[in-house]
């Protein structure tokens, strides 16, 4: 474990997925999926609906246990970790849920305070308030502090969810379809916000999407998830020029 950790720092690989497989009954969703993520990089995983993108990202954060394969984050293999160790990794890895997953019985402020619960002995209420305000300002929604999630529009909810993810200043952010269900203009705003945050905090981003705008604007590298595998990868320009029929389908 130790030597591996050193290696990762040297090569700057923050996330390494090797031969990840997962099936639900007879439905094999991921088949030996491989992926590596460098620190500060922004990678988009592109795949059609039902191809197992959400399953992949939930395996990374430890919500789904894979059948085979390893997922190393900062040198720790996620499926091997116990609850406390996993929790420490999760504090450094932000997750933006496809459905936002805002707690709808809580106000925006309480939603943002929730991830800070794990430090409630260490930080004062004043610091908490400051962190909440800062995170909301980052997404441009400081005025919604005491509103309920139900009172917000879809785009605003996405921003609040993003603020909740940002509040712990994660080193890696996993975005599960950040623009699904939003109109083109709002999607663009969200993507711009993601790029801005990426540059401001030097985070590593893994973005799952089938939105072409998102791929074009936010990706330094694109990975195609087809048939449960990492089918092709390259920059946006390389991918759109691909002659492979399965890849071409996405760009018609």
């Amino acid at each position: 474990m130790k030597s591996e950790l050193k290696l990762d720092i040297k090569s700057n690989k923050v996330l390494i997925i090797i031969n990840l497989s997962k099936s639900f009954g007879n439905n094999q969703v991921l088949k030996e999926f491989n992926l590596e993520l460098l620190g500060g990089e922004s990678v988009v995983v592109l795949g059609k609906s039902g191809s197992g993108k959400s399953v992949l990202i939930k395996c990374i954060i430890g919500l789904i246990k894979p059948d085979h394969g390893s997922i190393h984050i900062f040198g720790h293999n996620i499926p091997d970790l116990d609850h406390d160790e996993l929790d420490q990794i999760r504090a450094k890895v932000g997750f933006l849920f496809q459905s936002n997953a805002l707690y709808d019985s809580m106000t925006v402020r309480e939603n943002l305070e929730f991830p800070l619960r794990r430090y409630w002995l260490e930080i004062s209420q004043m610091e908490v308030d400051k962190m909440v305000i800062d995170a909301l300002e980052d997404v441009g929604l400081a005025h919604t502090l005491d509103m309920m999630p139900a009172e917000l529009s879809g785009g605003m909810r996405k921003r609040v969810a993003l603020a909740r993810t940002l509040i712990l200043k994660p080193e890696i952010i996993l975005y599960d379809e950040p623009t699904t269900g939003l109109d083109t203009i709002t999607s663009k705003e969200i993507i711009e916000l993601m790029v801005e945050i990426q540059q401001k905090y030097k985070t590593t981003s893994l973005i799952i999407s089938h939105d072409m705008n998102c791929v074009r604007m936010a990706s330094e590298r694109v990975v195609m998830l087809i048939d449960g595998k990492c089918y092709a990868s390259g920059t946006y320009n390389e991918i759109i020029q691909s002659v492979d029929p399965k890849v071409k389908l996405f760009f018609e």
Partner: protein
């Protein structure tokens, strides 16, 4: 039974919808044990509050009975209550009171279980709320049955 219907279904539906909208997963990711945070609190609340509710219900019904008696005869309020407490024996109250803890616990835990394990989609929420009511009502019958046996054995 009414408690089972009202509380069981609301817990089932609440946790069910939190499950399908990934709020429970989100808690897990934010380092809060959703089981402790959501389930333990609700089960505890049900277990402790149902007995209180039962006592409240009993007092109201006794007071109602007093009003009924008062219509026909002119019994004084104090006389009625001394009569009531004289006639109530320990064996009437204690088993009923103890039982209500178990009822509360059962309703709480079943509601939570059904909600927590509800299947994907909005109809999963409806189904878990519905089955929470059915299962907790049945379990109340079963617990009551057992409770009668136990009080019999203990000789109350």
């Amino acid at each position: 039974m009414i408690f089972a219907g009202k509380i069981g279904s609301s817990i089932g539906a609440e946790l069910g919808s939190m499950k399908v909208t990934e709020q429970i997963d989100a808690m897990e990711v934010s380092g809060t044990n959703p089981f402790k945070y959501l389930v333990a609190t609700r089960v505890l609340a049900c277990t402790l509050m149902l007995p209180v509710l039962v006592m409240l219900g009993d007092s109201i019904s006794l007071y109602g009975a007093y009003l009924g008696v008062n219509i026909h005869t002119n019994t004084s309020f104090i006389l009625y209550w001394t009569q009531v407490f004289d006639n109530l024996v320990f064996g009437d109250v204690l088993p009923a009171f103890t039982k209500s803890f178990f009822f509360g616990f059962a309703v709480g835990i079943i509601g939570c279980y059904k909600g927590y394990n509800s299947s994907k989609g909005t109809e999963g929420v409806g189904r878990s709320a519905n089955s929470a009511v059915v299962v907790s009502s049945v379990s109340i019958f079963v617990i009551d049955l057992l409770a009668v046996q136990v009080t019999d054995i203990l000789g109350y």
